[in-house]
């Protein structure tokens, strides 16, 4: 769960940057989402990430002559779910088209996609921006197959490329928005909201570092306050949200400068060059954009009957709003807690797993909102990859609830567990951190503290109740945090008050 904070004014120090430009960007997205089906879209090869190259391939996804694709029903249902959640129209009939182009990662020399009749058309997604709620309209949601992966040899002089086709045929949905965003903040809100929705829909694990979720941008600039769209540029090769934001800033600057110098923006596809921190024109222009789409004769029509559509809708996973309400009702959480915990599906799932292991929802919520979220953000890790598992967090809270450890020791145990991945109960055991509740043992520390702090004792006897806490602190220090504070308080009260 990586939440990016973005300061759009950070780079205005650049002297070549026009001061408070009268131009604003106009931004739309094409988002590719790899679906988390077990198998590919048109064959039964698995979609596992990171397997040895060319071991998840068969005659169909290798594009051998004479093979026939057969459509994965679940891929269609995932696309339907997504289209419904984005408020699209779902036409009753759609089909697949061939998009023809030559590239070595595409063994058939065409990609099976949807061009003339998509699974969803129109629709919208509401995003929360610093300027309030904004509605981003959708153009369409369509289903297609992913290409393979090209690998360029490390030797810069190598005169060949290498191809791994494990990914070829992985089901993809492409979500195409209208150009309804006008700042990096809008774009960030859109990306986060969409990723969150896809996670809630359980159609993709959205791991950007594995290419499961990929953003492509189209961007133009226009004078702020005007309606007419400028010439747009498409940008590819954006592999993180941070990169998208850098790219928006760069393209806005580049296009603004072109226009202010009396030039024109070319309609083209550009590539983000991470090393240069800039976009550059693609070189293979001569064959671009002549895809000669035509209906794929190997695949029959998809008929989304009203019954099927209703069944998919009825089985949509619990979405954010419903989960938030349930957290309030079922766990008795305050609205504030429920909102924070459901802001991200993986965080909500982590929390629910912890509550299942130790049913103290409010205490666990407090730990989530402070310690766990802080560590996830600082370490930029997903809850699933967090060293402390939900059962471990539950164990910490259980040990507090059972009086085995103090709240202060618990924080130390948490820090150690997060750092090392060790089991919290084992840390407490191995390092002798179990709270001492034996009154006789605690009394020894209390007596020592009283003997060593006559001035505090004086004040307490004079009725200064605040000093009691200071003396408790002295006892806790002596016990290295292990004395049960309740017993310490009782003993001090009995002896001095």
């Amino acid at each position: 769960m990586t939440v990016l904070n973005y300061n759009c004014h950070e780079r205005t120090k650049d002297p070549s940057m026009p001061a408070m430009s009268k131009y604003e960007p106009v931004i739309g997205f094409e988002v590719h989402v790899e679906l988390c089906t077990a198998t590919k879209i048109f064959c039964s090869c698995p979609t596992t990430f990171g397997s040895p190259p060319n071991t998840q391939v068969c005659p169909v996804c290798l594009g051998m002559p004479g093979v026939l694709p057969v459509l994965n029903r679940r891929a269609v249902e995932f696309a339907l779910r997504t289209a419904m959640a984005l408020n699209c129209n779902i036409p009753e009939r759609c089909n697949f088209d061939r998009k023809n182009y030559y590239y070595p990662d595409l063994p058939k020399n065409y990609q099976i996609s949807q061009n003339y009749a998509c699974i969803g058309t129109g629709g919208w997604l509401d995003i929360e921006t610093p300027a309030g709620t904004k509605r981003v309209r959708m153009n369409n949601v369509h289903l297609e197959e992913d290409a393979g992966k090209l690998i360029h040899p490390e030797d810069p002089g190598a005169d060949y490329s290498l191809v791994d086709l494990n990914r070829a045929g992985t089901p993809l949905i492409e979500i195409v928005s209208e150009p309804d965003m006008s700042s990096a903040e809008d774009a960030l809100a859109y990306m986060n909201t969409l990723k969150n929705l896809l996670e809630y829909l359980e159609v993709s694990d959205c791991k950007m570092q594995e290419g499961r979720l990929r953003f492509e941008l189209n961007i133009s600039v226009r004078e702020a306050g005007t309606e007419r769209l400028g010439t747009k540029v498409e940008v590819k090769n954006l592999n993180s949200m941070k990169t998208v934001l850098k790219c928006i800033e760069h393209e806005t600057w580049r296009q603004t400068r072109l226009l202010e110098e009396g030039g024109r923006v070319m309609q083209e596809t550009r590539l983000w060059d991470e090393a240069a921190g800039a976009t550059r024109a693609m070189r293979s222009k001569e064959v671009a954009n002549d895809y000669r789409y035509f209906p794929d004769p190997d695949l029959v029509e998809i008929h989304v009957t009203p019954e099927w559509r209703d069944a998919v809708r009825a089985h949509l996973p619990e979405l954010q709003e419903a989960k938030r309400r349930r957290f309030i009702e079922e766990y008795g959480l305050p609205e504030y807690d429920a909102r924070i915990l459901t802001n991200s599906k993986p965080v909500a799932s982590y929390y629910e797993a912890a509550v299942a292991a130790h049913p103290n929802p409010k205490a666990l919520s407090n730990w989530m909102m402070t310690e766990v979220l802080r560590e996830l953000n600082a370490r930029e890790v997903e809850p699933a990859d967090f060293a402390l598992k939900p059962a471990g967090l539950a164990a910490i809270v259980r040990m507090i609830d059972e009086g085995r450890i103090s709240g202060k020791i618990a924080k130390d145990v948490f820090a150690k567990a997060v750092e090392s991945g060790r089991d919290p109960a084992e840390i407490v055991q191995a390092e002798g951190l179990v709270q001492v509740t034996d009154a006789g043992e605690v009394e020894k520390w209390v007596d020592e503290a009283i003997a060593e702090n006559p001035d505090m004792v004086e004040k307490i006897r004079a009725g200064n109740t605040k000093t009691v806490q200071a003396l408790v602190g002295q006892v806790m220090k002596k016990s290295r945090g292990k004395a049960n504070p309740k017993i310490v308080n009782e003993l001090i009260a009995a002896k001095l008050c």
Partner: protein
């Protein structure tokens, strides 16, 4: 109807990665034009009352379940490859411009 110019032939040849001689270009412009002319006979039919279709088969919703089946081994997958390296297909160098997917 159906006149294919020599420029159109050159364009389609480029898209198809075919190398044609000027002789070929002239021949194909002629042949493709006559093929289109022949097929254009279909335009004489009145299809205004027939819904568009992408298929001759009256089939719909041919699906499979999302269950993993057998894949090829790496050796089988590469058996027809002219060249390979480390389990990968080896192809002429590609500039890093990304595909279309």
């Amino acid at each position: 109807m159906g006149q294919i110019s020599e420029d159109q032939v050159r364009h389609v040849a480029l898209l198809s990665r075919l190398e044609l001689t000027e002789d070929d270009v002239r021949h194909f412009a002629h042949d493709l034009s006559s093929i289109l002319g022949y097929v254009a006979k279909l335009d004489e039919l009145d299809t205004s009352q027939i819904p568009p279709t992408s298929h001759s088969l009256r089939l719909e919703n041919a699906f499979r379940d999302d269950e993993v089946g057998a894949s090829l081994t790496n050796e089988q997958a590469l058996a027809n490859a002219p060249e390979s390296e480390d389990g990968l297909f080896k192809v002429p160098p590609v500039i890093q411009d990304g595909g279309g997917a």
